[in-house]
Amino acid sequence: MTSTEEVTKLFSRPESLVGLPFAYCPGCGHGIIHRLIAEVIDELGIAGKIVAVTSIGCSVRMWQHFTYDMCQALHGRAPAVATGLRRALPSDRVIFTYQGDGDLAAIGTAETVHAAARGENITVFFVNNGVYGATGGQLAPTTILGQKTSSTPYGRDPALAGYPIRVCELLSSLDGANYLARVGIFDASSVTQARKAVKKAFQLQIEGKGFSLVEFLSPCPINLKLRPIEATQWVKEKMTSFFPLGEYKGGKNR
């Protein structure tokens, strides 16, 4: 036996990723989340069945990283576009959207709530970083109380800017929402949990169980004006106290 035959590749780029370096800022969560989605799709062997809907903000360019059939949606409209795809494509196709907090919980609240209420058999990946990233760090519907942003320069005051929206909790009252989970990506253990949630969401869709959403608490160091490791720590300590991790609907209701 020669030494080359003993080499086994244990870790490599998922085949679902085209191999471009991620175009995101240092310490941004998008890279990890993209990779988790790609890994799970490869593991389930469904890359050829995927039709993905990308949206706006920093992840507007996510289509350059994946090998799937993909289309873009306007600000907040991804769940409605995914609805059209779902109703027109054969049922074995797997459809996901990828949306930020402003997209999903402000300008697209109606589309999100109604896609969930209808129980559309789609998966929504919701990246909650508490700010509007691409436009330069303004107030998001998920900015936590007291948090300074470029449009709440004195900190989020509920008398002026209201309270943050907890999306999983909000959607959990809807019969059509089948799987709702909030996960973190701030350490190895939370990333492992996040990967499990992504897999469960896709599996439930494949089984035709209806609307699934995975919310990632994700760091945005540039707009938090923190170093990457500090931003990750901030998500773990500050965001999770306002947005508790866990499954809000376990995918068993039908």
Binding site: A47, G48, K49, I50, V51, V53, I56, V60, R61, W63, Q64, F66, T67, Y68, D69, M70, C71, Q72, A73, L74, R77, A80, V81, A82, T83, G84, L85, R86, R87, A88, L89, R93, V94, A110, E111, V113, H114
Partner: protein, 351 residues
């Protein structure tokens, strides 16, 4: 067997013609005076293996249309004036991604909430559109027959150019019943090698509205503009009446074209040399008859149920050769043929 004439409501003529054009998907939101289209589709589409959905808003409806259009299937939505305002962002997006679909506007009186009598006050938002440099073909039927005929044409045009096509009509034509014959036209088939279906054993396909670089967006605009110029050159439709010796030419589309034609006929009986141009496409606006067919015209009269939105297009088509007058009113006003005839008589005296 002789063709069967049927008594059909305008809105239902559109809906059934869409089904005859192989449209199997409809997304909409109830709004008067469009709602019969939505209700007809809710009942009829499941009977032909199609799919109907009442969306949570017009914004969602046009986005659902986008989703279906991405798969290459034929899809339609219908609404009325404020609904088109909400759909404008989506129509711009569909145009940028070169996605075919048919959008119906059964216009009601505006601005704002307005009221529900018929109007033509969406001429601007149909022909001048939403954000960005894009065009949609706008078809303006004038009868239940044409509601059906042009709906079938609209789906073929949408597929041929990979572009949204709009049918601009109003509450009068939409809710009026007339006899008509169902068109015998067969829907054309198109190869859609751009459609999304899952990238099994091939490279992934992308339908993108936001290119990565400024340069690519300029390239997209150049490509789109070439297409729009081709559409403008090839797709003008109109009908003309008595133009050869006409000293004055009435210009009217949709509901006002029917009323005006009656007035022109009556004026002719009185010896007034009046003619008429009825634009059927509002974009592209039909310039040829203005240039080629009315050599003796000394004046033009645009008759519209709005404050004169088409006048600028008529002026561009007339190109300074004769004055362009306007008779009309926004807000739900409908002219009588007698009133139009009076305007024709006044103009005859003046020229």
């Amino acid at each position: 067997m002789p063709l069967q004439r049927e008594l059909v409501e305008g809105n239902e003529a559109i809906a059934e013609a869409a089904i005859k054009a192989n449209c199997r998907f409809f997304f909409g939101y109830p709004i008067t005076p469009q709602t019969e289209i939505l209700e007809y589709m809710a009942k009829r589409l499941p009977q032909v293996g199609g799919f109907f959905m009442q969306a949570e808003s017009e914004i969602a409806a046009i986005s659902m249309v986008q989703g279906v259009a991405c798969t290459g299937a034929r899809v339609m939505t219908a609404t009325s004036s404020p609904g088109i305002s909400l759909m404008q962002e989506g129509i711009s997006c569909l145009a940028s991604m070169q996605l075919p679909c048919v959008i119906v506007n059964v216009t009601r009186a505006s601005p704002g909430l307005g009221r529900i009598p018929p109007a033509q006050s969406d001429y601007f938002q149909a022909t001048k559109r939403g954000h960005g440099d894009f065009n949609v073909i706008v078809l303006a039927p004038a009868s239940a027959q044409e509601m059906a005929d042009l709906t079938m044409v609209a789906f073929d045009l949408a597929d041929e150019y990979r572009n949204p096509v709009m049918i601009l009509t109003d509450g009068m034509l939409g809710e009026m019943m007339e006899t008509m014959v169902w068109p015998e036209r067969r829907p054309r088939n198109f190869v859609k090698d751009w459609a999304l279906e899952g990238a099994e054993n091939r490279e992934g396909r992308l339908l993108i509205s936001a290119p990565l670089t400024d340069h690519e967006l300029i390239e997209l605009n150049v490509e789109l503009n070439k297409k729009y110029k081709k559409m403008a050159a090839k797709e003008c439709r109109w009908e003309e009446f008595y133009l050869e010796d006409a000293e004055q030419v009435v210009v009217a589309f949709g509901t006002t074209s029917r009323i005006s034609l009656e007035a022109v006929d009556e004026a002719r009986k009185k010896g007034i040399k009046a003619g008429m141009i009825r634009p059927i496409t509002l974009w592209p606006f039909p310039h040829p008859p203005f240039k080629d067919s009315c050599p003796k015209a000394k004046a033009f009269l645009s008759v519209e149920m709005n404050n004169g939105q088409m006048v600028e297009d008529v002026k561009l088509a007339v190109c300074g050769r004769a004055p362009v007058h306007f008779y009309g009113q926004g807000g739900g006003w409908v002219p009588s043929s007698l009133a139009v005839e009076e305007q024709i008589e006044k103009l005859a005296e003046a020229i």
